[in-house]
Subunit: 576 residues, 2 copies
């Protein structure tokens, strides 16, 4: 009986999806989209006709589709740029970013995934990270990464003739499949993991004695039995390469603080060179420029009142990046045909941040890793001179996956979006071109790790899991009114009971649709394979870790089991 | 020994004070000011010379000193106006206030007292509320109020020939001394208490059954022994009057919701009339216009997305007030010679706010009543076309008491500031006229009720009382870096130990100075005396409460004992 009903619901959704196909290619949306489309489809169709006209006129004017620069960095709360009062309160300022924001559109409701890896995967694939097995924040050595079967924005835009470049922190795995040059980017210069690795050297060890990644700096530990918890020296942090070629490790394994700081400088140089070369070759381009920006080894010489990692890193990396980017676009005469989206990848690292980092909680409750708004709302702005109205503020909801779909539309590349999976990204061209209130999203599903933890509809939010006494766990509703209680501190209870069933239906539609399009698990594989300059120690990690050479079972089999943790530990040979 | 050292320290401070007297009238500042003056006195003297020149030129240009409008309302966090992103997040907008802010200077560090009564007393007297016995938030019937011995801004400016008007919520007591017409205002129309009184009628009782102020609406309570906990019907909420005359109750005791809502409309009318009449009489004017604005009985018809009391009340009261104010000034041709300061009186009521009020925590931790920044930092902007540079943001610290001293300076009335008491307000004319970084304050002492709870110096803040384990209570320091940790969530501990002794010295100077200029206690007295239209029930409260007529002791003696609560309760006759 239950199964029958479920099958019926899927059929209904499939029918809805089919009716949508004829109107706008064959993108498979999440279920909730069809609920909106049923109400607004006709309005949107008219609007889309006008937008197509606008875009065609622009393409004729510039004899090319727009260039797209997606500049993204870590761990910032809304208002971290573009808001002078907030910046005075925090003790830093970002004149270049603020000017970009003032001359473009600022978003007050840009949603992301709650962590770096899932967020970066989502924006590149147009899918929530739960669907692509990328919901876990990666640390070395992962033996996982973005799977080949994903179709990234770089692939979609490449198929339409764009030059595509990746510069900065990727943080999408250490498997060969995940290398950006194997995910559609023509050119890439990237860091495999996150900022914590700035500590993995003698300077970092000195500043943070607790890390202990460099055994040679430590006293002999007579109690240590297993060296596999200390990072292997074959660990790779920086790579570079071109599509169709082998990747190479940058700086041959040197991972000193100087290398770390140089990385962003080198990214800047390569990003600008790539833009210049693409423009000179009359090729439209798409750049994912995601700086490392923050270092856990700060410079003693401060340039901001804040002194914190956040304030300082804006000055050291992001401000000069943005300045040079805009100068270059102006110099090349392509500023008016280039869309820049600048944004953070998730909320601040509020839980046990480094002392004096400037990473405390912002306006919202929680931060990185949380399903509260503090984890998933970020500062964001879009600049497109002459196209996006300057000095505007958009309160429409927008999700980072929307950038995938929107950028594809702007590039005329929607037909390259895969149609065999759910694309969470909604086309928000109308929001960018027609302004606030023209958005097409009124909901987000917020996953925390592998769990659906919260859902937002309009300005109401339900916590599916809640520690509030008497709320979610006892079958009541933990519904919050984000306008009145943006910190999600007081569930509205009586005033929110009528939302319980609509939220449940929404969740059911979302989950039923997954029966047809299931989530994928982590994509496991060997790390660091196919490097042109692989070091011996790196090869030892790839085939396979030397420490495991003498195990009485296939030493790579564990890779397939990582997702089934925790194991029932037993006798040696459990894997046989 | 201890006493000797103390006397010596006082002598030193007194000497410092004497040396200051010759330079700038005879204002007695708090001790910390002299520490700054010792370092910056010469620079300030030069700057003051230039400022005097500027002010003299302005006075010549307009043939009058500037008009001053101080517009203040309740319970708002920084960025509540003037910040479009924050307003989109909260679901309301205030175009008129935002325009005022954009055309003037916004303050990111405006400090106030943490509650209505202390805040309003502080801005009118230039003294922290602890010094004037006004640190307690008043509720009817108080039998206390601002003492006659206080010298208010209205008195200071009246002495210099200003017309002075008070319109709105005073909340400074119910004694005759405290009536604004007895505190220097030529004309006044005022509410004696706060917004909670909007519930004290049948509509309010219906909406909030728990109040129980109207006994006639309740079932007979056979367990009730004492009726004095239920508000007497002689309770007075609205008054009006002129200096030198008897006050009168407005609307003869009617306190229906309609009266409540009409009050702000009537305030607006009277404030504008007062401005118009003063201008037409060529009199410089000072207006304290402090609307009631929020009502606990909201209108079912909403005009904002927020729907909350905050968002709605901006539209109902403040936006039209500001619009009409600016139109009137423009029409009268005096906009360029009028300084408007718009601000909140303290942080939001975050602790048990009414449901859906929009009063949740903002960027800062805590709210009304707290010594954390959430209690004492407010949104504020100053507009003075042609004088204050438009579009500027001031990160200099400023305290509401500074407005007392600064307004006096601008009016040329500094000589009327009393010199027999500590004036906490620092002259911030340089900040207004010369812009950010020209402020003269780097510290505030934050009292929570009668206790010194925290002290801020620059961007460091010490909690003198703290629940953080191992902090203040064990003699360590609970010092917070407000740039890095504006929510005061993580004391910096090791990085802040060197602040312990400087903060202690600062506190000692502050407290030693009080031995010469002691804090005053609440000023107690009869309520509602000398009303031209006193109702019988009101007279019964004044002379004295009828319920106490048959007590075997002087029925008014309890007034003098209110500050010594809690009593040791004993036999009847304890007061003899």
């Amino acid at each position: 009986m239950k199964q029958q009903r479920t099958a019926g619901a899927i059929a209904t959704l499939a029918a809805l999806a089919t009716s949508a196909i004829s109107q706008e290619n064959t993108i498979v949306h999440d279920a909730e989209y069809y609920i909106l489309e049923a109400q607004y489809g006709k309005v949107w169709a008219v609007e889309d006709g006008e937008l197509d006209g606008k875009l065609a006129a622009l393409r004729e004017q510039y004899d090319a589709p727009p260039n797209i620069v997606h500049y993204m960095w870590d761990d910032q709360p809304p208002m971290a740029f573009g808001d002078p009062i907030y910046q005075q309160i925090r003790g830093y300022s970002t004149p270049n970013l603020n000017r970009l924001a003032e001359e473009g559109m600022q978003f007050s409701r840009m949603y992301t995934e709650p962590g770096c890896t899932p967020s970066r995967a989502a924006v590149l694939t147009g899918q929530n990270a739960i669907r692509t097995g990328t919901w876990e924040i990666g640390f070395p050595i992962e033996y996982t990464g973005l799977a080949a079967e994903n179709v990234t924005l770089a692939e979609v835009l490449s198929a339409q003739g764009y030059a595509t470049g990746f510069f900065g922190k990727q943080h999408l795995g250490d498997t060969e499949e995940s290398y950006p040059i194997n995910q559609g980017f023509d050119v890439a210069f990237w860091a495999l993991y996150n900022q914590v690795t700035s500590l993995y050297n003698a300077t970092g060890e000195g500043a943070n004695a607790i890390v202990g990644m460099k055994e040679e700096l430590l006293a002999d530990n007579p109690y240590q039995r297993d060296h596999s918890f200390v990072q292997d020296e074959g660990f790779v942090f920086y790579m570079e390469g071109n599509k169709g070629e082998q990747a190479a490790e940058w700086r041959n394994g040197s991972q000193e603080v100087q290398d770390y700081n140089d990385f962003d400088i080198e990214s800047r140089k390569r990003a600008i060179d790539f833009i210049r070369q693409s423009a000179e070759a009359d090729k439209p381009f798409y750049v994912a420029w995601w700086p490392l920006w923050m270092s856990f080894i700060p410079n003693p010489q401060k340039v901001t009142l804040q002194r914190g990692m956040v304030g300082e890193s804006y000055q050291r990396v992001i401000e000069p990046d943005i300045a040079l980017l805009r100068e270059t676009l102006a110099e090349l005469g392509i500023a008016e045909n280039t869309l820049i989206v600048a944004m953070a990848d998730n909320g601040p690292m509020t839980h046990n941040p480094p002392a004096g980092a400037g990473l405390g909680e912002g306006l919202f409750r929680g931060g990185k890793g949380d399903f509260t708004e503090g984890g998933v709302r970020v500062p964001a702005a879009a600049l497109w001179p002459g196209v996006i109205e300057p000095g505007t503020y958009a309160a429409d909801m927008i999700h980072e996956t929307d950038l995938f779909t929107t950028f594809a539309r702007l590039a005329g590349a929607t037909q390259h979006i895969p149609t065999d999976r759910i694309i969470d990204g909604i086309d928000q061209t109308a929001l960018l071109l027609n302004g606030d209130t023209h958005g097409r999203r009124d909901h987000v599903f917020i996953y925390q790790g592998p769990d659906l933890a919260a859902t937002v509809k309009d300005h109401y939010k339900i916590h599916w899991t809640s520690d509030d006494p008497g709320q979610a766990k006892s079958g009541l509703t933990a519904v919050y009114d984000l306008y009145n209680d943006h910190r999600e501190a007081n569930p509205i209870v009586v005033g929110g009971f009528h939302f319980k069933e609509p939220f449940k239906r929404m969740r059911a539609r979302h989950e039923l649709w997954k029966q047809k399009y299931p989530d994928r698990e982590h994509n496991r594989g060997r790390a660091y394979t196919n490097l042109s300059n692989a070091r011996t120690a790196t090869l030892a990690i790839s085939n396979p870790p030397a420490d495991f050479d003498d195990l009485p079972f296939d030493p790579l089999e564990f890779i397939e089991h990582l997702d089934q943790l925790p194991y029932e530990l037993g006798e040696p040979g459990y894997g046989e």
